[in-house]
């Protein structure tokens, strides 16, 4: 267990640096053991340096920045250990338009190996769909799903 965790962390950090810099265009991030002397019990922390900012306290990050750090780490894990299926429910809600495009461009690249199910309200996000479903309640209280024709890729 110990070697495996240490090895996983080392691998993920290579990818985390890569995905973080792709999203933030600078800065760096890595995951670290909170108690490296005790790999069996240790927790895991995230250290982030935002480009051009002198801030390390994560509480001072903005709503969008925190969402993007989560995205960068998720993508790093996918590079380390691609999972066949990923479900994201309005993860784009706090993002501005530029970051929505970045976020979905990365998802598009992953979608060759990973199947995504993404819930969104954002028109920009919808442009990335391979297929789109609309959920409605034509009859109050009763959900109905229809496939939505769109101009599509």
């Amino acid at each position: 267990i110990c070697e495996k965790l240490t090895e996983t962390i080392q691998n993920i950090n290579v990818f985390f640096s890569q995905t973080f810099q792709e999203i933030f265009e600078g800065g760096d991030a890595k995951v670290v053991m909170t108690d490296p002397a005790n790999p069996l019990e240790t927790g895991i922390d995230i250290e982030v340096r935002l480009p051009g900012k002198n801030i390390s306290t994560r509480t001072l990050f903005s709503g969008g920045e925190k969402a993007l750090v989560t995205a960068a780490l998720l993508f790093a894990i996918f590079l380390q250990n691609p999972t066949p299926l990923c479900v994201l429910d309005e993860m784009d809600a706090p993002l501005d338009e530029v970051n929505i495009m970045k976020f979905f461009n990365m998802i598009k690249k992953f979608s060759e190996n990973i199947q995504f199910i993404v819930v969104t309200h954002n028109k920009k996000s919808m442009e990335f769909a391979d297929v789109m479903y609309g959920v409605t309640m034509e009859e109050k209280g009763v959900s109905k799903v229809m496939s939505v024709e769109f101009k599509g890729a």
Binding site: T83, L85, D89, Q115, Y133, V142, V145
Partner: protein, 165 residues
């Protein structure tokens, strides 16, 4: 492995049998507030073996059975099935199609099925173990959990990494 279909019946706001055909790539779900989008995400997590009622926004298992409207009576049971294309043999079963199903009716505990064979939540978790896809894993980010990895405790994060190992 690819998710081919999600079939809901009697689960939360889906009283009638509803089939969602999933495709490779990016499947986007849109719709008005309160129409049932996150209920589909809950249905996926529920079928994957999620035991904690609160984490599916309910206070008891009965909250997952359609409660009825002015026109339609409450359902007697909730059933969700997910059918996967396993021709890549990602799941350790030597079949092309794998179906996992969960059924809960008012009188009994929930029942799980793998290809219509009665199973337990543990069996489903074991089946998907090496894929990294699980009801509480890193591959599902629920609504409002956008800062998931940041707001986790150091030990919760460790659990995520052990799964990714």
């Amino acid at each position: 492995m690819k998710l081919k279909k999600i079939i809901l019946k009697g689960f939360k706001s889906f009283p009638k049998k509803t089939v969602i055909d999933c495709r490779q790539g990016i499947n986007i779900i849109i719709g008005p507030n309160g129409s049932g989008k996150s209920n589909i995400v809950d249905a996926i997590r529920w079928t994957m073996g999620e035991k904690k009622v609160k984490s599916l926004r309910g206070s008891e298992m009965l909250d997952f059975i359609f409660k009825g409207t002015e026109k339609i009576p409450a359902s007697g049971y909730a059933e969700v099935e997910m059918i996967f294309d396993n021709s890549s043999r990602t799941l350790r079963m030597d079949v092309d199609d794998v179906s996992i199903k969960r059924i809960f009716d008012r009188d009994s505990e929930g029942k799980f099925y793998i290809n219509d064979k009665r199973s337990r939540a543990k069996d489903i978790m074991a089946l998907f173990g090496e894929t990294g896809f699980s009801s509480n894993g890193y591959a599902i980010i629920e609504q409002g959990q956008v800062e998931k990895f940041i707001s986790y405790s150091a030990l919760e994060r460790r659990a995520i990494f052990e799964e990714a190992a």
